[in-house]
Symmetry: C2
Subunit: 406 residues, 2 copies
């Protein structure tokens, strides 16, 4: 008998038919003799519908009330799933975040899980019940509802798995695993049987959007084996674990991230003091919650230099506003930005010991006349910034180079 | 400075426009220097929509999961109302039943409030916040969500008012007070400026459906003055209190209740032992939660008698099933039922000291050729059971007799 945590996303429970399908997966796992804890997201578009309702009333509601509103979404899906399991004749109980013991920080809308007091879940499992828990939500020290931010249900599932030392944590989504590239775009994309936490982290950050980043970090920290799989195909998915020892592939995937913008500070005089001041902008951006990714410094004309970097597209306006307040101080002549860009990355633990990977990647891009704007590398990742129009062609070329010709 | 509890029903918060209207009423009360606690029901048809969602998945879901599902409805309306109040620039906080301290029994779907631990509400009022509380719901000793049954939000409001010794408890509905008859049907219906708890209780039981019965009982017990008024007209409503001392009207209202069915046990042999057994059916019905109203015993033919009584229409099938299991034991020849009936009642504290009321009522009915099937009287109430087709005509005739010719 094992303890298995199963998480189902919004599309997996979007209507009665899908809920019954999930109930069937859950009860099959239970029938095999396992303890089963199920974590659910809100149904389909519920969260977006609730946000629209709020917007009709207040275009800037407090985050506290927003969390109160949004946490109703999982309450509905969790109780409906419990009813479907009841109808199949199995013992079940649904629990809200606060009932399941999710203590979080007070950052409404983006709370962090501090601990999960799993006594109630354990009591219910001891009664041989299937336990359905609302994902995405918890309660803070004031006894107020909090939400974990988009994709937080993955984190909820991994937190339960970590606290209870679960044998497996299955994340059911609408794709049946982690692929070497987006299978909707690249017909030759290959499903990986396993991938390491670090590779998965890079892929999540890079826009592959299979798993929520915080959930992978937590799984890595507590060494919880994750399986990413589809609630519809019921085929074996991709295992995320410490070492992807099954295949020693050179790289494990190609990802594209369109949610990105490039900002450049133009014409900063090339004097040590001023440049130093300009670089302080990065800590200022960080303090405003604006994460900077690729950074490039280039020598401009007439003894000036340009500093370019990328940010999330939805943070672009905030970042520009902050820069414009300071441009004069640095002697910068101009702030320019471009959100018509995309970031294409390859990720693979193998590249650490294989120095030719970058060259192969660039070769693939040049062979299709794709122009590279910026480059950034880490031990297991190479990213390039491109014109958005070149994105799909670039992924295709790289995927062909690494996966289809090998 | 007074403490005022304001309760708004589902139609008062059914869309953004109505929610803004409620926010305006609430903040006006707050602006006058009062402490304000607001109790809200779920928006418009939310509860029915949720019930339909559940029915699609399980035609007999557990009541525990049903309460988990339904309690999301007020969570949505409470947070939306709080957002509307925020937008108007007032300090506000919304609280769920469990956060507001509603400890209830464990009868899912029909829980009773055991106590309200109002510390959290008091703390928020001390911060000069408007407090919005979800009606209709609480938490039981196991930490599970419960609901109070239909109309339970009235009870939630009165429970807070009673516990906190509020100066006034306003119940906003879609009618602007208590009338001598249903104003949609009887154009001459008169709005009462006040009515006693007992009269209101009889009217609520009798289908006037202005206030939830349990809420009036609780208001009476703790002597909380209620005001029934409309959230749309903003006119003074009807005050419900110990003594309706303003006008000494003979009767205060005529009510009609179509949610009723008559059941008859036919041909019970007129022997003491058997009849005694048959009457035990009433305790059996009570133990199944089936309330019996008017009871009539009539001598039938050939030394047998018939026992007739009325029940809520939706309990008719359960009651008949129970009777059929026992009919043979009593020697009864048949069980017959009729749900094509209606109950028309007049209520008034004045009739205690004025014996001619019943005669006047019957006279009004006979003058319109309305046939009376059964009669039941209490100190302040006279009810008659009629063919459903006669109902509206009967109310009209009685109303004319007591209110329009005096």
């Amino acid at each position: 008998m094992a303890l298995i945590v199963q998480k189902f996303g919004g599309s997996s429970v979007k209507d009665a038919e899908r809920i019954n399908n999930v109930a069937d997966i859950v009860t099959s796992t239970y029938k095999e003799g396992n303890d089963v804890v199920v974590v659910v997201s809100a149904q389909g578009d519920t969260t977006d519908d609730l946000i629209a309702k709020a917007a009709e009333i207040n275009d800037k509601p407090s985050k506290r009330e927003m969390d109160m509103l949004l946490s109703s979404g999982e309450q509905i899906s969790a109780s409906l799933l419990a009813m479907a399991i009841e109808r199949m004749g199995y013992p079940v109980v649904s629990l809200l975040g606060w009932q399941a013991g999710f203590d979080t920080s007070s950052d409404y809308g983006n709370a962090r899980i501090k601990r999960v007091n799993v006594q109630r879940i354990e009591q219910e499992l001891d009664k041989r019940r299937i336990v359905v828990v609302t994902g995405f939500q918890g309660v803070n020290r004031y006894g107020d509802m909090t939400t974990l931010g988009r994709g937080g249900s993955d984190t909820s599932a991994v937190a339960i798995a970590a606290t209870m030392h679960a044998d497996l944590c299955q994340i059911f989504t609408d794709v049946d695993g982690v692929y070497t590239a987006d299978p909707r775009k690249i017909p030759g994309a290959i499903k990986l049987s396993s991938i390491s936490y670090d590779e998965m982290l890079e892929l999540a950050t890079l826009g592959a959007q299979v798993l929520h980043n915080r959930s992978v970090e937590m799984a890595k920290k507590y060494n919880i084996e994750l399986e990413v799989l589809s609630s519809l195909t019921r085929r074996k998915g991709t295992i995320v674990k410490e070492e992807s020892n099954v295949e020693k592939m050179l790289i494990s995937g190609v990802a594209k991230d369109d949610n990105i913008a490039r900002i450049s500070i133009i014409g900063v005089p090339d004097k040590p003091g001023l440049a130093f001041k300009a670089f302080k902008i990065f800590s200022k951006l960080a303090s405003k919650g604006i994460n900077v990714d690729i950074i490039l410094q280039s020598i401009g004309r007439n003894g000036t230099k340009d500093i370019s970097f990328t940010v999330d597209k939805n943070k672009m306006d905030d970042a520009i506003a902050l820069l414009q307040q300071n441009a004069e101080k640095w002697g910068a002549s101009n702030i320019v930005s471009d959100d018509n860009v995309t970031k294409v990355s390859i990720v693979g633990a193998g590249m650490e010991t294989h120095p030719g990977v970058a060259a192969e990647m660039f070769e693939a891009l040049f062979s299709r006349s794709v122009n590279i704007q910026m480059i950034s590398t880490s031990e297991i990742k190479i990213s390039v910034l491109l014109n958005k129009a070149d994105g799909d062609r670039a992924v295709e070329a790289i995927h062909e180079k690494f996966f289809e010709n090998h």
